[in-house]
């Protein structure tokens, strides 16, 4: 097994999965519109989007459970769409795990091996060994004789993963792998899953609606909305440079104000700063993160604002500010409320990295 993290070798690995121009409609509802993206060998790719964005449909197309209306999927150069589900050798973990409820954990994991044609089916002892290895891998030693109903959510998820890995898949597909788990278990399983992926060295595509999860886990993130691919890139790239307001908004808390770009300068209300050279001209929407601001006294630079409320919230401090007639919830690193900040204080707020998008025509 390859113990090297794949992230380091990512740039060199060849493309393994190539999706081009995939469209799929359910009746009149277009679930996917002309989606194209690629994944490199052993890459961990996240499909991120709100519900109804088509991410699960895309995953099911990759598994062979849905047929696209148009487009092409190639895997290692092979025409993937012409291969029936059962011969694709993709390991899929379903959102609700879809464990076989009438089979024990061991039988679940062994299923993919025992249904092979007789000529390529491993012997009973080989199957037993493989199941034992996988149980060990997913840290469920000794639970082989349990039934799915007797397991916790986290354990079920790991059984589903072991079952998918048993067939030595060419690609691993995970549909909201943490969706049904509580917050603490989610975090633990996240790192564990990433480690497992790095050790198994399988190209993995996972679907999530949780931007934290996608940014934390994936080598690259594909952001979908309404069946369209909005942006594809490394977590840091998409977070730092969201392609459009939707992506900006989706990846984290966002503050928005109207502004104008003219002659290389960006003007937002009474604050003026240098505009980026590639910024759109004229009327724009200015976005900034509520935690990426500097609070300055009234004679400093920034947007004029007035503090409405201050509250410490765990590691952060929430400062409710009135700026240009809108209330914004800004965040500042705690612990402790910055000296002098209290309701009624007039101050200036300077966004550190304002991001500028052309103003959308009003509907």
């Amino acid at each position: 097994m390859n113990l090297q993290p794949t992230a380091n070798t990512e740039a060199k690995s060849p493309l393994s999965l190539e999706i081009s121009g995939i469209s799929k409609s359910f009746g009149r509802f277009p679930a996917l519109r002309n989606v194209s993206l690629q994944a490199r060998d052993k890459e961990f790719l996240a499909l991120l989007g709100p519900s109804g964005s088509g991410k699960t449909t895309l995953l099911r197309v990759l598994a062979g459970l849905e047929r696209p209306d148009a487009g092409d999927v190639r895997f290692d150069g092979e025409d993937f769409l012409s291969i029936p589900v059962r011969h694709r050798r993709v390991g899929m973990v379903f959102q609700q795990y879809a464990l076989f409820r009438h089979m024990s954990v061991a039988q679940n994991i062994a299923f993919g091996l025992t249904v092979r044609p007789r000529s390529v089916r491993p012997s009973k002892s080989e199957v037993a060994d493989r199941v034992a290895d996988l149980l060990c891998l997913v840290q469920l030693e000794g639970l082989g004789s349990r039934f799915p109903a007797q397991l916790s959510g986290g354990q079920r998820q790991r059984v589903a993963l072991a079952r998918a890995l048993a067939i030595e898949p060419k690609m691993l597909l995970l549909d909201e792998p943490f969706g049904a788990l509580d917050a603490k278990v989610r975090r633990e399983l996240r790192r564990w899953l990433r480690d497992l992926h790095d050790r198994a060295g399988v190209t993995t595509v996972f679907v999530t609606h949780d931007q934290d999860e996608a940014l934390d886990l994936a080598d690259r993130v594909a952001i979908l909305k309404d069946g369209e691919l909005r942006q594809l890139g490394a977590p840091n790239d998409v977070y730092e440079n969201p392609a459009d307001p939707f992506v900006y908004d989706f990846l984290g808390a966002a503050c928005r104000l109207p502004g104008i770009v003219e002659g290389g300068r960006l003007r937002v209300a009474d604050w003026e700063t240098k505009a980026e050279t590639d910024a759109p001209q004229g009327r724009v929407e200015v976005y900034f993160r509520p935690n990426e601001v500097v609070l300055a006294p009234l004679d400093g630079a920034g947007l004029a604002g007035e503090v409405r409320a201050v509250a410490a919230r765990g590691p952060d401090v929430r400062i409710e500010c009135l700026i240009e007639g809108q209330i914004f919830e800004l965040e500042s690193r705690g612990p402790g409320i910055p000296a002098g900040v209290a309701p009624g204080l007039a101050l200036r707020i300077k966004p550190l990295r304002p991001k500028v998008y052309a103003a959308q025509p009003r509907v």
Binding site: A63, G64, L65, V85, R86, H87, R88, R89, V90, G91, M92, F94, Q96, A98, L99, F100, R101, H102, F111, G112, V115, R116, R163, A164, A166, I167
Partner: protein, 284 residues
């Protein structure tokens, strides 16, 4: 809190619960237990010897055999049909699904006499295919085939109705998982779908069988009441009764009643052991 959301236990109407329970107990006793008691009492009225003679009469035995044969053909066919119908309704989206669902329910809402009569209209001597059948010397009406057809028509909703809600509830994810793991369609059906519905299937088959063996109206139309040839047990009861052979009629009826009691015990056992997998215990 709205009145509807209040727990039931908070409603206290003194005496009402007792009165309702007592009333239903009396009605049950009068309408169910008493007749059941009478059946067995009259069957053994002239002693056990007469009872045994009545149930081992050649006509009674052939009625028993015919009933078993008809049920033995109709029930497996309806089980297969029920699984197929439930499968396509629960796991696929298609046009005309609503129509199919309504058609499955049709025998429930239609008088069994009509279910028998349609076969006479099709295959009887004056029916659409009557002349052709006579020319080719094929007998459907007043023969076992007709009895089987009538029974199938009357009993076909039982298995499908039981399986549809369960299969809809289970969804198709397990089947999809089996396919991605390399199983063929047949293996998936055999190893995943069927085990998941086994208890509900058994339950449906049980009800279907009880109805198939007890059916009177539909088979009465197509039977022709030829003693020893086309009389099933329920028809045999009627024949004997009309002949004023009360011991024989009640003895035969006691066999049917016993079948009902056995079905009831098995049904209760299934409901008790596998409640979660039976549609009867679900909200529709």
């Amino acid at each position: 809190m709205s009145p509807a959301a209040r727990p039931i236990s908070s409603v206290r109407l003194p005496g009402v619960a007792f009165a309702l329970v007592a009333a239903s107990a009396i009605v049950m006793a009068a309408l169910v237990l008493l007749p059941l008691f009478v059946v067995f009492r009259d069957a053994f009225d002239k002693g056990i010897g007469k009872y045994l003679a009545a149930v081992s009469d050649p006509d009674a035995v052939s009625a028993m055999k015919l009933t078993l044969l008809v049920a033995g053909i109709a029930v497996p066919l309806n089980a297969i049909f029920g699984i197929a119908a439930a499968w396509c309704i629960a796991k696929f989206e298609f046009r005309g699904k609503g129509v199919l669902l309504t058609l499955i329910d049709l025998p429930f809402s239609m008088s069994p006499v009509v279910s028998g009569l349609v076969w006479v209209l099709l295959f009887g001597a004056q029916g659409w295919f009557g002349t052709w059948l006579i020319d080719h010397d094929i007998k459907i009406i007043f023969a076992t085939t007709g009895l089987v057809l009538a029974t199938i028509l009357v009993t076909f909703p039982f298995v499908a109705r039981e399986l549809i809600p369960l299969m809809q509830d289970q969804g198709a994810d397990e089947e999809a998982a089996a396919l991605t793991l390399g199983a063929s369609g047949f293996t998936t059906f055999w190893k995943i779908t069927l085990p998941n519905i086994r208890w509900a299937l058994l339950y449906g088959v049980l009800l279907c069988n009880a109805r198939a063996m007890g059916e009177f109206g539909a088979v009465s139309v197509v039977s022709g009441h030829i003693r020893g040839l086309t009389t099933t047990l329920p028809l045999h009861v009627e024949v004997l009764y009309n002949d004023y052979d009360f011991v024989g009629a009640f003895a035969t009826a006691s066999l049917l009643a016993s079948l009902g009691l056995v079905t009831l015990v098995l049904k209760t056992g299934l409901e008790w052991r596998h409640a979660g997998e039976l549609a009867a215990n679900r909200k529709h």
